[in-house]
Symmetry: C2
Subunit: 413 residues, 2 copies
C-alpha cells in the first residue's frame, strides 16, 4: 500500500453485501508487510462451483499451477490468498509450500485438497515459508464472516493505493442473485489476464462449465483489454465462485451456457469485470490519468485490438498524456509500428472530440487551445480510425509518470 492514494481512486465505495454461502476472514501474518493484513481466507459452503482464468506466462507461479490442477473438479470450498510474496519461481520449495498450504486449508474447513484454491502476490523468487501463516488458517476458517468483503480487498493489495470492490444484484429467473467482486493491481499488468488477482463470487446456482464459459468470454473485452505497463505477471488469477445458495430461494439451476435466463447475469458479470479492470488501470503504478484507446476501421477486430494495444503500451504516448501534451504524432508512430494493415493516408486521430488528423495529415480545423484544455482532464479518450475496414476494439491504460519509475526503481529493497 502506498502512502499516496491515486487521484483516480473512486470518490466512494459501494457497501458490499454478503453472498450467502461465502464467509471471509483476514489476518496479519507478517509475510512481508507490517501493521496491515496480508492474508485472506474465503470459505465456501459445500456445493460451490468454480471457474478460473490465469496468466499465459511460461513461468507461472506455484499457486497458479495448483489452481489449474484443481479446476478440473470444478468444486471449491476454500480460497487462501497472501500478499507480499508471489511464490513464483521458487522451484520445488514453491510446490511444497502450495501443498502444505492446501493441506492446512483443507484441514481447517474439512474438505479435500482438490477443493482448495490458492493465490499469492508480491515479490518473485523469494521462497514463501508456509510456517508464517498456515497455523492461522484453522482460526480464520472458524471466525470467517459474510460481511468482510472490503477487508478482503484490502488484504490482497500490494502497491495498490485503493481497494477494488464491486457488487451487483440481478434477476436469475425471477429471483435476485448477488455478485461481489474484488481485485488488486497495480504493476506488471498487461493483457493475458491483466490484473494480478481478482475474485468474484455469487449465490447463483451455476454449473462449473457455465461459469468457465462466462469467465473466458467475459475477460476478452475487460481484463484482457487493460494494460498498465505491458508486463505480464507470473501470477495473474481470476476465479469465479458460485455457491448456489439462491437455489433455495427459487433461482433456477443453470447448466447450459446458452440458457436464455442467464442474459441479465452475464451482462452484469461482464460490466463488473470491466469496472474492476478499469479500476486496476486507475490504480496503475504512478497513474495520474486514465486513457481509453479505441481503434475503428481496422481490417478486423483482432487487428484493431493489436493496434489499440500498440498505442496503449507506447511509452511515448503514455508520457505525452502524463505531460498533458496532445502529441498525436506519437499515435501515428504507434499505429505504424503495430505491424497491422494500415494506410497512412487514410488515418484519422481524435483526442476526445478533437479531431487532430485526417486523411494522413493534420486536420486543418485543429484547435491547439481546445485540445490542450482537453488534455488537462483526468480521463483521456484517444481514437484512431484506420480507414480500411470495420474492425473495432477498445482498451484501457494509464499514463506513464515519474512515480511509476520511482515505485519500481526500489520496490524489492
Amino acid at each position: 500500500m502506498s502512502a499516496t492514494i491515486s487521484p483516480l481512486a473512486p470518490k466512494k465505495y459501494p457497501k458490499m453485501p454478503a453472498i450467502e454461502g461465502v464467509r471471509i476472514a483476514t489476518a496479519e501474518a507478517g509475510i512481508k508487510y507490517k501493521n496491515r493484513t496480508d492474508l485472506l481466507t474465503m470459505v465456501f459452503d459445500a456445493g460451490t462451483t468454480v471457474a478460473g482464468v490465469f496468466t499465459r506466462s511460461k513461468c507461472p507461479s506455484a499457486p497458479v499451477d495448483l489452481c489449474r490442477q484443481n479446476l478440473g473438479q470444478g468444486k471449491a470450498r476454500v480460497l487462501v490468498v497472501n500478499s507480499g510474496n508471489a511464490n513464483a519461481f521458487t522451484g520445488k520449495r514453491g510446490r511444497e509450500t502450495t501443498s502444505m498450504t492446501a493441506a492446512a486449508a483443507a484441514k481447517a474447513v474439512g474438505c479435500s485438497v482438490e477443493e482448495v484454491f490458492l493465490a499469492s502476490t508480491g515479490v518473485i523468487g523469494e521462497p514463501l515459508d508456509p510456517g508464517k501463516y498456515s497455523h492461522l488458517l484453522a482460526g480464520m476458517a472458524k471466525d470467517a464472516r459474510p460481511d468482510q468483503w472490503s477487508e478482503a480487498a484490502k488484504a490482497i493489495m500490494t502497491t495498490d493505493t485503493f481497494p477494488k470492490v464491486i457488487t451487483a444484484t440481478v434477476k436469475l429467473g425471477d429471483v435476485d442473485v448477488t455478485l461481489n467482486g474484488i481485485a488488486k493491481g497495480a504493476g506488471m499488468i498487461a493483457p493475458d489476464m491483466a490484473t494480478m488477482l481478482s475474485f468474484v463470487a455469487t449465490d447463483a446456482p451455476i454449473a462449473a462449465p457455465v461459469l468457465q464459459d462466462l469467465l473466458s468470454k467475459g475477460t476478452a473485452k475487460t481484463f484482457n483489454a487493460v494494460t498498465v505497463d505491458s508486463d505480464t505477471s507470473t501470477s495473474d488469477t481470476l476465479l469465479l465462485f458460485a455457491t448456489g445458495a439462491a437455489a433455495k430461494r427459487g433461482a433456477p439451476e443453470i447448466t447450459d451456457p446458452k440458457d436464455a435466463r442467464l442474459g441479465a447475469f452475464r451482462r452484469a458479470f461482464n460490466k463488473m469485470l470491466k469496472t474492476l479492470a478499469i479500476q486496476v488501470v486507475r490504480d496503475g503504478e504512478g497513474a495520474r490519468k486514465q486513457i481509453e484507446v479505441t481503434v475503428t476501421g481496422a481490417k478486423s477486430a483482432r487487428s484493431a485490438k493489436r493496434i489499440a494495444l500498440s498505442i496503449a503500451n507506447s511509452p511515448l504516448v503514455k508520457t505525452a498524456v502524463a505531460g498533458e501534451d496532445a502529441n498525436w504524432g506519437r499515435v501515428v508512430m504507434a499505429v505504424g509500428k503495430a505491424g497491422e494493415p494500415a494506410d497512412r493516408d487514410r488515418l484519422a486521430i481524435w483526442f476526445g472530440d478533437n479531431r487532430l488528423a485526417v486523411d494522413g495529415e493534420r486536420d486543418a480545423g485543429y484547435s491547439e487551445e481546445a485540445t490542450s484544455a482537453y488534455m488537462k482532464r483526468d480521463s483521456i479518450v484517444i481514437r484512431a480510425d484506420i480507414g480500411i475496414g470495420r474492425g473495432k476494439a477498445t482498451v484501457w491504460t494509464c499514463d506513464l509518470t515519474k512515480e511509476y519509475v520511482a515505485i519500481n526503481g526500489d520496490y524489492r529493497s
Copy 2:
C-alpha cells in the same frame, strides 16, 4: 540537444578523417531549433553508389518514401538532412516538400532528382516548409568541405546529448579504405531499424547491390538489436554511400557480395554499426546505465532474440536497473511473457558474473552484497539461459529513469 550530457557519453571522440569524394556543409536554418545547426548537406562525387534500410513502420515519413524510390537506381550525389521536423504524417504537403527539396538539391549539385537522398527527424505531423532551407542548399553545396564529419553529426541531433561518430580504416585488397559513420537517437528507438538516422560513407569502390547486402546483413545484430523504449520511429533511415575514390589508388572494385576480399571491410563495417547502435542506446533518453541482454539456450536464435527483447523492453526490468536493484524476478516475468518456448524449471539468470537463479529457483550461493555492488556499475549485463536449446542472441538497451518521463512529457510544447 539537452543541457545535460548523458553520463554514458564517450570520454573522447575520434578525429574524423576525410572520405575522398565526400564534402559536407551544415547550416542554421532555424527550422525548430535556434542557435544551433539543423541542416546537413553531404555532396558525393559522381559514381557514388548507395544502399539503404528503413523503418518498417506502416506510417513512414515522406523522406523515407523518397529514399526508397530513389534507391532503385543505386546512385547518390547529395544527401540533405534536417532536424527539428520529421516531415512525417504530413500528407500531400509532405510529398511536395520532399519534391521541392530534391529539386533544389539536384540543382545545387547538378544532378538528377533520382540521385538525391533526404532524411528528416523531429516532430511528427507538423508541415515542413521547404522555404525555410531550400535557398541555402546551393551555397552549402559550394562551400562543402571534406573535414566536417563531427559538424554533420551535431547538425542531425534532436534530444541526443552527444554526437555519434566513428571511423575505421581497413584493407580492401592491398589498399587502405576508410569508413566514416554518424548516427542520431535518442527516443522512439526500437528494432526494425533502431536509430532514427545513421549515415555511413566510404571511399571503397563497391557496387550498390553489394552495399545493400552488407547493410541488410549488418543491421540484424546491430541496429536491429537495440531498443530504448520499444517505440519504432516513422523515420528510421540508415544509408551507406561508397564513392569509389579508392579505386584510383588501386582498391579492387567489388561487384560480388561473396568476394573474399570484402572480409575485413565487412567486419569493420559490422563493428562500426554495432558501436554506433550502442552509442544510440548510451544516449537513450534519460539513460543512466547501458544494459546488455544475452539469452542462451533458447529453442532458436529467433526465439532467443524475442526473449531478449522481451527482457530489454520490460519497463519493470528497466526501472529495476535504474534503481540499482538486482530484481531478477522481473527477468523471470519477462521470459515468461515472451510467448516463446521456455521451461521455468530449467531457467538460470545472471547479472554480470553473479548467478542469481538456477534450475527454476533462487541460486543457493547467491550473494546479495556482491550483486548489489555490481548493480552500481554503469554497464549491466543480464544473461538468461533458457536451458532447452542452442539459440542465442544479444540485444542492448538502457535503463528507464524519471528523466525519460520528463523529456517525453513535454517534448512537443
